[in-house]
Symmetry: C2
Subunit: 110 residues, 2 copies
DNA sequence: CTGATCTACAACCATTTGGTTGTACGATAG
DNA sequence: CTATCGTACAACCAAATGGTTGTAGATCAG
């Protein structure tokens, strides 16, 4: 149960990170190809610092990774984070379908 | 593009609603079987009003529906809301897989 | 070396969130 | 009818969010 708490906090961060239009857009873009933080900042009608914060939120949620590239910071999508969120929704779907055995499978995969 | 804004706000509400451990727990429970609001309130270490607010957030996000049942209010899971969230993550997964044609399919389903 | 660029981060602000208590009201049990 | 139960909602509060400006440190181009 103590371990679960960590997972719950992780899910809190994941879904919260996805609960913002700008951040979802960033996730889409950096999944297709890498962007520097300033490259991303140029796309939105807000300050560099604001975009920087959004990237930080996504990074904490493991939806994105940053990698130093000279004086730039390359932002790329992180598949693992997305999968965790998908996993939860799959679990809910299984519950909805009443497939208790399928739930057990999913939890075993976890 | 104007229409998209509505969809984005809807997704904001959906993911934000999922970004709370208590609310995710409520979703699980009411998907398996119906609960009254006070029935739910009994499960958590917080006030009735707090649980009532959580249910309201879930209802606004279309993850849950309420139905008057005498003097109680029956809360039940709403499959449609979950599917919308799943749909987005499927789209992201498709992007990640680089399956542009699959993305087109998913957007067409939308 | 110098200047421009990219990033980091602090401080601040308005709004939202997640919780509380308290009040009021409709429906039901006795 | 009356008391109780389930709900709704307002008012309040602390903390988090999403934005801003400003300052400062690296790194690169010339």
């Amino acid at each position: 149960m103590v371990v679960d708490q960590l997972r719950e906090n992780e899910l809190d961060r994941l879904f919260q990170a996805l609960a913002d239009t700008t951040r979802r857009d960033i996730v889409r873009r950096v999944t297709v190809g890498g962007y520097s933080v300033s490259g991303l900042a140029g796309l939105y009608d807000m300050s560099f610092a604001a975009v920087q914060k959004h990237v930080a939120v996504l990074e904490r949620a493991t939806l994105v990774t940053k990698e130093r590239r000279g004086r730039e910071q390359l932002v790329r999508g992180n598949h693992e984070g997305l999968q965790k969120a998908r996993h939860l929704l799959d679990e809910y779907e299984a519950i909805w379908q009443g497939r208790v055995d399928r739930i057990a499978d999913i939890l075993a995969e976890g």
